[in-house]
């Protein structure tokens, strides 16, 4: 009886161990799988050319990713520039200024926002942001814009990463001891001075981690950006130009990628590139956050 129970315990332990290893190993398997698929294109074209060439002619076997990389960078940069200051101000307001009752109303809306699927953000972008840019923003700056632009992509992405940044920064701000803030207030500092000189400094690692996480989220976001940013394989030169980020490239062309030689390999290289960058960013920010958590536990 006892030995049977112990045996059962051991067997289950082994099964669970296997599941755990398998699910973590998915990272490796994805990385290796994507790499193996991108080997053909890497053998034919040098990594340097792939990353810096602007010529994208799949039918001729020319794969220059530069416009797509730039598209991704433009959209991500716009999103962060919009989202970061807004989210920092919001987080400070929520943690330092709002009374409890108001906080109980505000925080759920940020959470609800995080539940909305990307495609809905895309629809919103098409129906609201794109016309807004076309009719009301772009005319002030350029002669003509369809509204489908890196700016539209950046705005939609910014809204998508609001909840991510706000929730992490709020969490980090809440861990700053009240006595530390009191120490500054007791010296006669105003709340804003305390935020700027004490809280902001103390929360810096957390804010950096949140930003890195938001960047990697923005890099990988596919459908919402694809729907609003025009998908034109040229390097954008202004925020009103269309762009064509990497994930959109993959999503738009999966149908035909098997019918053109090397095309599948090139697209899988794009996926591999995304994977590596995002993996790196995530590892960095998660380690920062885990360290913060551990420091506070002590």
């Amino acid at each position: 009886m006892t030995s049977l129970r112990l045996l059962k315990d051991k067997v289950y332990a082994k099964i669970m161990l296997i599941f755990t290893i398998l699910s973590v190993a998915v990272v490796l398997v994805i990385g290796i799988g994507l790499y193996l698929k991108s080997v053909p294109v890497l053998n034919k074209i040098s990594l340097y050319t792939l990353l810096t060439s602007s010529v994208w002619k799949p039918l001729k076997g020319l794969f220059g990713f530069f416009p797509f990389i730039m598209g991704t960078l433009w959209v991500t940069a716009i999103a962060i520039i919009i989202a970061l200051p807004l989210c920092l101000l919001t987080s400070f307001f929520i943690t330092e200024y709002t009374p409890n009752q108001l906080r109980k109303i505000l925080v759920p809306f940020v959470n609800l926002l995080s539940g909305i699927p990307p495609v809905i953000f895309g629809v919103w972008g098409v129906l609201f942001i794109v016309p807004l840019i076309q009719d009301h923003i772009a005319p002030h700056f350029v002669e003509f814009s369809t509204g489908y632009s890196v700016l539209a992509g950046g705005i939609v992405l910014a809204v998508m990463i609001f909840p991510l940044i706000v929730s992490i920064v709020c969490e980090v701000l809440n861990t700053i001891p009240k006595d530390l803030k009191d120490a500054s207030l007791a010296l006669g500092a105003t709340k804003w001075e305390t935020i700027r000189k004490v809280s902001l400094r103390k929360a810096k690692p957390g804010i950096i981690a949140a930003t890195v996480l938001a960047v990697s989220r923005a890099f990988g976001e596919t459908i919402a950006v694809l729907m609003v940013c025009g998908n034109n394989a040229d390097v954008p030169h202004s925020v009103f130009d269309p762009g064509y980020p990497l994930p959109a490239l993959i999503a738009n062309n999966y149908g035909e990628m098997l019918s053109i030689p090397m095309y599948d390999s090139a697209l899988m290289f794009a996926a591999f590139l995304l994977f590596i960058i995002i993996l790196l960013f995530n590892v960095i920010s998660r380690i920062i956050l885990a360290r913060l958590e551990r420091k506070l536990a002590l």
Partner: protein
């Protein structure tokens, strides 16, 4: 003195404006979807499959996508639970004192959570090509399962961590094995498991990039795992690009349906999570 006070008020105003913008964006989005979606919401929309092809046919609704989405999200969540419950238990109860290992695994799952769905989709597509499987319900479920495992593991892990260690110790000291203790713990966290299910379902039902390559699209309701299946997000994405006004309307209505489903799930899960944390803090 006055300058400092002005500065304080200036930034306070700025913060209020930012907060209004950030929280208000939610209303802006839901408002837009409601405004465009409601006029097209008819009974046919949720009770019929599209007539005459989803891209140009003017008749019918999006029942195929609703059912397809429920199949994919439901299947992936069930499959995901099957894998993640053991993983979460293993991380918490079988690693003994090796906290660094548990924390390392937690970071690994957080990282997995951060990998974009397009990468999962591309990878799923690779596997399917390798094994010669065509885009189908099964393919979609497998790809989405990969996507939701990290969410499930981390949510369950957080929940298990709230179980007082004394409970486990009490059971263990009665001579129970770790597995028997784990069963007690699972019973303890049942509402938490439900929260995890909701979160996973919500993410699964809304994701496009993972099913784009793997589940295909079809005007019909799939009757076997090997048939392609439509999903709501894809129905929105494809039909929005149609030149036919009625088809675009179907996209708006689908967006409304998806938004409602997801909002209900999010609200339910946060209520549950709140209740759960209350029960435990006592």
């Amino acid at each position: 003195m006055i300058r400092r006070k002005l500065e304080e008020n200036f930034f306070r105003t700025l913060m209020i404006l930012a907060t209004i913008l950030v929280t208000g964006s939610f209303f802006l989005i839901v408002g837009t979807i409601l405004y465009r979606g409601v006029p097209f919401m008819t009974w046919d929309m949720i009770s019929k499959i599209p007539g005459g092809g989803f891209y140009i046919g003017k008749e019918g609704g999006v029942l195929n996508a609703i059912i397809g989405s429920l199949y994919v999200a439901g299947g992936a969540t069930v499959l995901g639970l099957f894998i993640s419950i053991p993983v979460a238990i293993y991380i918490n109860m079988y690693l003994g004192g090796r906290i660094w290992l548990a924390n390392g695994l937690r970071i690994a799952f957080d990282v997995l959570f951060g990998i974009p769905s397009i990468v999962y989709g591309a990878f799923g597509f690779l596997i399917m090509v390798y094994f010669g499987i065509r885009a189908s319900l099964l393919g979609g479920i497998v790809a989405v399962t990969l996507l939701v495992i990290p969410i499930l593991v981390r949510t369950l892990d957080e929940v298990i961590r709230t179980v007082p260690k004394e409970l486990g110790d009490a059971t263990l000291s009665l001579g129970a094995t770790r597995w028997e203790t784990a069963k007690v713990v699972i019973r303890q966290i049942r509402p938490g498991v439900f929260t995890a299910i909701l979160l996973s379902f919500g993410r699964a039902i809304g994701d496009v990039a993972s099913v784009l390559f793997t589940a295909g699209f079809s005007d019909n309701i799939p009757t076997s795992l090997h048939q392609p299946a439509a999903t709501l997000p894809l129905a929105i994405f494809f039909q929005l690009g149609s030149p036919v006004a009625e088809v675009q309307g179907r996209a708006y209505a689908s967006a409304l349906i998806l938004t409602i489903i997801v909002l209900i799930i999010t609200i339910l899960s946060s209520i549950l999570a709140k209740r759960f944390s209350k029960n435990n803090s006592r």
